[in-house]
Amino acid sequence: MILVKKLVYTYPQRKEATVRDISFEMPKGEIFGFLGPSGAGKSTTQKVLTGLLRNYEGQVMVKGKDLKSWNSDYYNHIGVGFELPNHYLKLTALENLQLFASFYDKPTQSLQTWLDRVGLWKDAQVRVENFSKGMKMRLNFIRALMHDPDIIFFDEPTSGLDPVNARILKDIILEQKHLGKTIFITTHNMHDADELCDQVAFIVDGKISLIDAPQNLRLQSGKKLVKVTYRDAQLNASLNTREYAMEGLGNNSDFLELLQTQDITSIHSEEATLEDVFIKTTGKKLT
């Protein structure tokens, strides 16, 4: 769906490139996560892909067509969710959506349904100047989806949201994926990336250092161990921990005996978190 080859982008009046020779491919119907610390080049890459930044070097193909040869019709096919909420403050939530909906060539999906899904229908007639940041972010989210685009770009989609609303938005993103939409997410939230993305790319200082499925990355970098925590009846029910190798675990007599004789409180496999993998690969922390 999207193919990027040797993309380089340098902002005007800057000597050094912000995005340096990156290449990746986003297959149709997948969620692709672009992960990296602030200033790594995530948003710049997204701005190139959404046509907000031109004069880039390299090649970007979208739906089999060079990005440079798309005209404004491109925006009938893509949806863009910005990192910061941007709406007309004096207009109501519904008026804002109706305004942007009027620009599309085909009718948008039911705005009432969308507002209802993200919990904003009761506030549809409220001016956006009275909205909290989280409410504005949810409105941003609808604007990116309301015209049923094939490709959706989100920049930190759960930023500023409480856990309940973040869950609602993440469920909608997964639902869109199951509808065959191709989704590009830039984030520094590893939990979101791990949960949502089919593939993630780590970007630091404008370069991609690794691309793979989050599960593969976690398994490759983790220890093949199981950590068992239990209450030891002989030591005043104090908590103890033991580690066992995954290999041959089913025949490990010590492990089996522990399960049968002790009060087990938790069993965890010791695969790495995505954040661990990121730090190990790039030597940088996500901020």
Partner: protein, 238 residues
């Protein structure tokens, strides 16, 4: 113009008017053009009774007040656009399926039309200078061009609303500057021709060539608008 384009223009205009009317800080300035018109219609003739010399300057008074009235729409729209700039709404417009620069051209047209209405009303109803309808229409267009020029200057160069207000005050004060050319007899006053409003005053000079001055004024203001538009497009709406 097809139905879809017309629908987009109607929706945008409707929302621009909503944004203007819902902003309490615009309520007083909205009444100012009416106050100016009443002043011209009833105040200036009264003043002329006590100070008959006012009569010879009625054209210039009308020109200055028409320019001030033309600037009011620029004030409203500049502030909407400064908010758009601040909230990065221009980026949102750029990811909409609109032809390149369609939005800016719409805004310039919207403000010019609004300003044209204000000036046309002022020239037609002030009762100060007898002008034919073609001349009123030509002058209204010339003066209305001050609005997009002012808006583009403010939105391109002001970083925020405070700077916007300061610039607007500066522009308003500058409106009266070329009047010096009518009060001081010196060849140096020709230098004032670089100030766009100079050509508006020249068009009101009944002893000069109306159509020539109006055409030069429209061409000069149009050129300035084109130059600032280009800068706005490259520096702000990108």
């Amino acid at each position: 113009m097809n139905t879809i384009t017309l629908k987009k223009i109607v929706t945008l205009s409707k929302n621009d008017l909503r944004s203007i009317f819902r902003d309490k800080s615009f309520w007083a300035p909205m009444l100012a053009p009416i106050a100016i018109l009443l002043l011209l219609r009833f105040g200036v003739p009264q003043l002329a009774i006590y100070y008959p010399e006012v009569n010879q300057y009625q054209g210039l008074i009308l020109a200055l007040m028409s320019c001030i009235n033309a600037i009011f729409p620029a004030f409203f729209v500049s502030f909407i656009m400064l908010e758009e700039k601040d909230l990065q709404l221009f980026s949102v417009m750029r990811v909409m399926p609109l032809a390149p620069h369609w939005f800016i051209i719409y805004r310039i047209s919207f403000i010019t039309l609004m300003s044209f209405g204000f000036v046309f009303g002022t020239l037609l109803l002030s009762g100060l200078v007898a002008l034919s309808l073609p001349k009123i229409l030509a002058l209204s267009f010339l003066i209305a061009l001050m609005a997009p020029l002012t808006t583009l200057i403010i939105v391109t160069f002001a970083k925020n609303k405070i700077e916007g207000i300061t610039m607007l005050k500066g522009i308003n004060m500058g409106l009266a500057l070329p009047l010096v050319a009518f009060l001081v007899m010196s060849p140096w006053t020709k230098l004032l021709a670089i100030i766009p409003v100079y050509w508006i005053y020249q068009a009101f000079d009944m002893s000069a060539n109306f159509w020539l001055n109006t055409t030069i004024g429209i061409a000069y203001l149009g050129l300035l608008i084109a130059v600032i538009f280009r800068r706005f497009k490259n520096k702000v709406f990108r």
